[in-house]
């Protein structure tokens, strides 16, 4: 084959490759890239109650800075995020260790363990709504049988955030556990043997060897959960719609209501772009952390 013929086939091949990814790229540009640019433009627009549209400059963003509801939403988002993430990482690592030492897990047991996060969050919200009902729910019955005071759970402004964090953690802790379990299974067994020969206790082995080696996997789990937790929507929308009052009004819920209940599309766009920046910021920060703990 001559050189020109070879370049010709290579060019043709490049063209064919571009053609193969073209549908996905065009679709993504049309459904994501272009709409995001459009949202940025919408963020500079003002929509009156009659649907009239006018240029607003930075008005939506200056409104955001002085909007008490925005700062409250940011606080709710961060509180819910930190609480849920800590719960899920701590119990996820615990569950992973338990599963790891159980060695052979029959497929049916694995299926049961993944069932919470394979069901729709909306369904999780529905079932917990019934279980946590303040007057007739099973949760308060269990508390009372143990001699503990009942709680208003989702109906209490004080307890609604921990309660929602608990529901989400019930759903996603097994997911974190499965990721960490994958990390555990890929650890070299030689380091354990060395520790055993040195007579290190089980706790010391975990603290000094397992945990540091596992950190990159844990950070990966943290990234995947952060992305979902900072956009918290489904469970809250089903159970409290941001209530009682505005006690569980996360930024995502607030932005959704501003956009689709009050139809202030311009201000909602500014809110959602801010939330997106927060999500990307968190991912970048964790990514740097992952680089720092890699081995």
């Amino acid at each position: 084959m001559s050189d020109t013929a070879a370049t010709l086939t290579q060019d043709r091949q490049k063209l064919e490759m571009s053609a193969l990814s073209a549908p996905a790229v065009i679709f993504t540009v049309g459904m994501i890239a272009f709409p995001v640019v459009y949202t940025i433009w919408l963020g500079f627009q003002n929509f009156s109650s009659t649907g009239k549209q006018s240029f607003a400059g930075l008005a939506n963003y200056s409104k955001l800075v002085s909007d008490v509801e925005f700062w409250h939403g940011l606080w709710v988002t961060i509180a819910l995020y930190v609480l849920s993430l800590v719960l899920q990482l701590v119990f996820g690592v615990w569950l992973a260790l338990v599963l790891f030492h159980a060695k052979r897990l029959p497929g049916i047991v694995r299926s049961l363990f993944i069932s919470p996060f394979m069901m729709p969050p909306v369904v999780a919200g529905m079932m917990w709504l019934v279980i946590l009902d303040p007057s007739l729910g099973a949760a308060n019955y269990i508390l009372q049988s143990l001699g503990l005071p009942p709680s208003d759970w989702l109906a209490s402004p004080t307890w609604v955030i921990p309660t929602v964090a608990l529901i989400d953690s019930w759903q996603w802790t097994p997911y974190v556990a499965l990721i960490v379990l994958g990390g555990l299974q890929s650890l070299p067994s030689s380091v354990y043997e060395a520790a055993q020969i040195d007579g290190a206790s089980a706790f010391k082995t975990f603290q000094r060897i397992t945990l540091p080696l596992l950190l990159p996997t844990i950070v990966t789990a943290a990234i995947l959960r952060s992305v979902d937790l900072l956009r918290f929507f489904d469970i809250i929308y089903i159970t409290t719609q941001g209530g009682p009052g505005n006690a569980s009004n996360t930024l995502n819920i607030y932005g959704f209501r501003v956009g689709f209940e009050f139809f202030n599309i311009g201000y909602a766009s500014a809110l959602m772009l801010t939330l997106t920046a927060i999500v990307f910021g968190a991912v970048l920060a964790f990514n740097r952390l992952r680089g720092a703990v890699a081995w």
Binding site: Q13, E16, M17, S18, L20, S21, A24, V25, F27, T28, M31, I32, F34, P35, V36, Y38, T39, W94, V98, H101, A102, I108, L112, I114, S115, M119, P120, P121, V122, V123, A124, M126, M127, W128, V130, L136, W170, Y175, L178, I179, S186, A202, T217, V227, R231, F233, D234, Y237, I238, G255, F256, G259, F260, I265, A268, M272, L275, T276, V279, V283
Partner: protein, 275 residues
């Protein structure tokens, strides 16, 4: 020596206790939901809650009688199957091209949807779809849900395509096969199980997705998940029907996930962890 063996046995017992404890916490709410759905109406709200009762299908009958549950289910099926098919149609060739050329930006681009809050897209979609009169249409719902399915298909299939030895392709190229032909005739049969896993995961996450249908559907095209909100509204005293609805909505994803549970982890982390 015997001491070490007894300690070992105790550790194993302790581990089993923890495993059972975790299993009970994980399973109890779901079991309670399913049990409640079979309770006669006066027992669902009984306090103290009852565990022993005569099971009945009344709640399911009432659900289908008082709500258009079956037509919602059909809508869910149309949107989910449509968006899964679209995700596979666009995702399979893209994943193949990314794996072959090592040019990864198309795959990363589709991940953007996994990172940003859905409302960010929903606002401009709402404005755009309204202008072309597509609000409430299956088209709008399928397109929006394909944003969920496409990255799942691409990222689940990437490692599968990467796993095919390059010599297989090179041999085919020498024989004069075009790239497209290599994909459909040689590569695709080799990654058939990966395609199945990606299709099931795409189906599950499209089925479970709430936000888009909340705004883009109307009374006729409402999906089960978006309609769940209505069941709660009516059902403050009808817990039985509410739990029947919840059980039925959760059934398809749970059954499908059980089929592919072995391959789930690597698929769900979008390749971040090798499971």
């Amino acid at each position: 020596m015997t001491d070490a063996i007894t300690t070992d046995r105790w550790i194993r017992r302790l581990n089993l206790v923890q495993l059972v404890l975790a299993g009970v916490i994980i399973m109890a709410p779901t079991v309670w939901m399913v049990l409640s759905s079979f309770k006669p109406s006066f027992e669902v709200t009984a306090y103290p809650p009852t565990l022993i009762f005569t099971p009945t299908l009344d709640n399911y009958v009432e659900l289908t009688k008082t709500t258009p549950f079956l037509s919602y289910a059909l809508n869910s099926l149309i949107v989910t199957v449509g968006s899964t098919a679209l995700g596979l149609l666009f995702g399979i060739p893209a994943a193949f091209a990314v794996s072959w050329t090592r040019i990864s930006w198309p795959a990363i681009l589709t991940l953007a949807a996994r990172m940003a809050p859905g409302t960010l897209f929903l606002l401009p979609w709402y404005v755009m779809f309204r202008q072309v009169g597509l609000i409430g249409s299956y088209t709008a719902l399928i397109l929006s849900h394909a944003v969920i399915t496409l990255p799942i298909v691409i990222w689940v299939l990437l490692p599968s395509f990467d796993g095919i030895p390059r010599s297989v392709f090179e041999a085919a190229q020498v024989d004069g096969c075009s790239v497209t032909r290599i994909l459909w005739r040689i590569a695709l049969p080799l990654v058939a199980s990966g395609v199945a896993v990606s299709a099931i995961l795409a189906f599950v996450f499209s089925w479970n997705y709430f936000l888009f249908a909340l705004v883009l559907s109307n009374g006729e095209t409402k999906t089960l998940i978006a309609a769940a909100f209505n069941f709660i509204g009516e059902g403050s005293t009808q817990w039985g029907a509410l739990m029947a609805a919840a059980s039925l909505i959760a059934l398809p994803p749970l059954v499908l996930a059980a089929l592919v549970q072995r391959w789930l982890v690597s698929g769900l982390t979008l390749g971040a962890v090798k499971g």
